[in-house]
């Protein structure tokens, strides 16, 4: 069986908690470590918030597609929208030392995930791929792509 769940929600912030819950349950039902689940939950929430705020500029009538996939190697989540293309260069967030509201989401996503990448081949909208590698046995922690 392929452990893959796909969910599409309106681009309205009231559905963020639903997407978080699905992320958490996807991990839990597949016996993923709780720390990994919590980090992925946070990354997915920040990424979907950014889609609403930036890609859709607050338009709540669009859709966000979230694909969650678990393999022995990784917990992977793909987030798709049909909004404005993210300017990958500007995806920096604020300097962490500046104390000001905003600019934190991208930092939090990068901290939480091993891979954070926009699919440049997507024609319209954005496809963001978040990956957390799962611990391999025998203490081998070196499992980059």
């Amino acid at each position: 069986m392929k452990d893959e769940v796909v969910i599409t929600v309106p681009s309205h912030p009231k559905y963020l908690s639903l997407v978080r819950a699905v992320t958490v349950m996807m991990g839990a039902q597949n016996k993923i470590d709780d720390t990994v689940i919590r980090q992925m939950e946070h990354a997915v929430d920040e990424a979907c918030s950014n889609v609403i705020k930036h890609a859709y500029a607050g338009d709540q009538n669009k859709q966000i597609g979230v694909t969650l996939r678990i393999s022995p190697e990784a917990f992977e989540v793909i987030i798709e929208d049909s909004g404005l293309k993210a300017d990958v260069a500007s995806l920096k967030g604020r300097g962490l030392d500046e104390i000001k509201p905003g600019g934190l989401g991208v930092h939090l996503i990068k901290r939480a995930c091993d891979v954070v990448e926009f699919d440049e081949k997507k024609e319209k909208g954005n496809r963001l791929r978040l990956v957390k590698y799962l611990k391999v046995k025998h203490g081998d922690k070196d499992h980059g792509p």
Binding site: P13, K14, L16, R20, I52, K100, P101, G102, L104
Partner: protein, 109 residues
């Protein structure tokens, strides 16, 4: 998100419970900014029952802190769950936020 505001001899305590995200943080922002508008000298945020906070919640508290600094008010946090503290630390806000273990500690200081 549930929000309760109580008064302890002029000190206002905002007790939050549930998840603070992009949907619920405007609900937190509203009463916070209202108290700041009234120039309440000490506002305390009780995070004991907060299960989750994201960057929009952090942004709300940073905005509150800045607002209070303008009149030298004090914004204090207490009952901070590990998961929330971790985000505060990562955001380097542990250096600017006044954080306490309990309401008593926060009231005393």
């Amino acid at each position: 998100m549930e929000i309760k505001i109580t008064d302890h001899e002029g000190v206002k305590i905002i007790s939050l419970s549930g998840d603070i995200d992009m949907y619920t943080s405007p609900e937190v922002r509203k009463p916070l900014l209202r108290l700041i508008d009234q120039r309440v000298p000490v506002i305390m945020i009780d995070l004991t029952d907060v299960a989750y906070i994201d960057s929009s919640g952090i942004a709300t508290f940073v905005e509150g802190l800045k607002g209070m600094m303008s009149y030298r008010g004090r914004l204090k946090f207490f009952g901070i769950p590990e998961r929330v503290k971790e985000i505060f630390n990562f955001s380097k806000l542990d250096r600017v936020f006044d954080m306490y273990g309990s309401m008593e500690d926060a009231l005393k200081s």
